[in-house]
Symmetry: C2
Subunit: 332 residues, 2 copies
């Protein structure tokens, strides 16, 4: 809901500038409209905006509609003064440029830029100053900003080369443990029967067919089951989860080291489906990062608000296109 | 070359029975013709017979031509008394049945059966009695037969769920080490520059694009480079190779345990591109299995000869279709 109800004053005062922030992900898309004081004026929620690598501009239709909805609700005329769209998969070239061009052509804003959804979330957690954001959902990535303003990414290599500690990787590790247990190369595990049952498969051979056509999210969807089996004391499942925590801690530890010196204990924000409130991995992660030592930033993050901050920053730049986060690698 | 030159006697004596054995793999296809005494009469070599999962019978044309060539060279009339075709990817249903039916329709033999190429290699190494075969090429699998005749498979789960210790997995582990090193999450490694150079890539981001379209064999083709980097003392590359050896030893150790009791020290045969004569992994593996303790079977294996033994065995069975090796799982 709006933090500030729209008023006719906004609509009637041509001296107020508006900014749009977009957080587009695999689950849903959120658009927020703020005024030049950063006050939220309106919000629109919509379906996922998954980037189709074959046609990256295709997703822009949904985003443009949501932007028009938010502007209309908030009483802002288009084009607004700035738009920043964080979209899953738009952190790498040439996708970023294609999306940016399509957004510009939609006439939503005088100044328009696009980037990864992770960037938008980072700017909500840390609008300025040092900090580290760890995201673990279907994939995994960590971003950090040092005291001198330098920005670094670790992880984010995608499902083939990385995503350690992510839902995808936890699912794959569990399936590897399944295969080892079945052969007798590893400990036998309750994961076997549980996985076959939840996937509706008759036997291990069917798992090979299943995995051949499974998507990253299908594999990540096994995570709640794996936690359940681990909580019942299954050794293989527990090992899978412990390894995921170690991997995620490794992401944070690396950023802490590479961004030294820190003026105070580094602050770490957690985001992504695996690290949300009430998710079992969150408690483990908070405990693990606090012994690094780091401080945990407890507030709930909102990528669309971070995107608004970035949109407001666009107006301060002469070329209208700030450099994207350095070293973004994977479009996944 | 033929171990026994063909003679007109074979052709003129209707009382001689002939058998055909096929070893079809991703590199080449070999067909051998033997007489009822098991003596090799002729041989034909041809292109790879990779199973196309969408059309498993498509590969049968090449196999049938090679069978006709071997029969003609050896002076045997078709149909011969038995044909056994071991083909990579034909160890799982329904592929096995489709290939078998197509081979029968080709009229090559009165009794025809098909299975995995690994089965054929096993029967060459161990025509009878206990033994263990470890195959590590692009993928990995181990087969064993106990003193009581019971047969077991471990590994062979394919690239998504298994293939530990294989060329594919060594390549993937090296790429994971590359990503960790690049981030600073792992030790920095010479693998980075070497991999980029051999693949002709400008930077790490290009590796993500490369892997997205790489085949299993493309990844396995990095193995010689990884050994080279390891031999130059690179810690990450050395770790990748040590882990592969551990995985392969684990396959053998599991079969040794599961097939107990053994009447004498178990004999282990090695096959596949990674374990061929003069390959660096072979020496490490021989050393590792001898401390299990196992005995290494040193002779060079010939899957087509193993397939001939299986073809001769078909005539002893009333239904003409012996049970395939139990628990074959992956078509990879």
């Amino acid at each position: 809901m709006n933090q500030t109800a729209p008023t006719h004053l906004h609509h009637l005062d041509p001296n107020v500038s508006y900014f749009l922030g977009v957080d587009g992900g695999g689950t849903r898309t959120r658009v927020v409209l703020v005024d030049q004081a950063g006050t939220e004026c309106a919000r629109a929620d919509g379906p996922p905006t998954l980037i189709d690598p074959a046609d990256p501009a295709a997703t822009v239709g949904v985003i443009a509609d949501l932007c028009r909805e938010a502007a209309s609700k908030g009483g802002a005329d288009l084009p607004v003064a700035g738009l920043w769209a964080g979209i899953a998969g738009a952190g790498t070239e040439p996708t970023r440029s294609v999306v940016e061009t399509a957004l510009r052509e939609a006439g939503l804003s005088s100044l328009t830029s696009a980037g990864a959804d992770a960037e938008a979330t980072f700017y909500d957690a840390f609008p300025s100053g040092p900090g580290i954001l760890l995201i673990a959902g279907t994939g995994s990535i960590a971003l950090g900003r040092g005291a001198d303003g330098s920005r670094l990414r670790v992880g984010g290599w995608g499902l083939h080369l990385g995503d350690e500690g992510s839902g995808y990787r936890i699912g794959m590790s569990a399936l590897h443990a399944f295969a080892r247990g079945e052969d007798g190369r590893g400990v036998s595990t309750e994961l076997r029967d549980s996985v076959l049952k939840v996937l509706g498969l008759a036997g291990p051979g069917d798992l090979i067919k299943w995995i051949a056509s499974a998507q990253k999210a299908d594999v990540a969807s096994l995570v709640p089951l794996i936690f359940e089996v681990a909580e019942a004391g299954d050794r293989a499942a527990l090992t899978v989860i412990e390894e995921a925590v170690d991997e995620l801690v490794g992401h944070v530890r690396t950023l802490v080291r590479r961004l030294e010196p820190w003026p105070a204990t580094p602050e770490v924000a957690l985001a992504g489906g695996l690290l949300k409130e009430n998710r079992p991995l969150r408690v483990r992660m908070i405990r693990a990062i606090e012994v690094l030592p780091c401080r945990h930033q407890a507030r709930v993050l909102d990528g669309a608000r971070g995107a608004c901050s970035l949109a407001m920053g666009l107006a301060d730049l002469t070329d209208g296109s700030p450099a994207p986060w350095p070293e973004f690698l994977s479009g996944n």
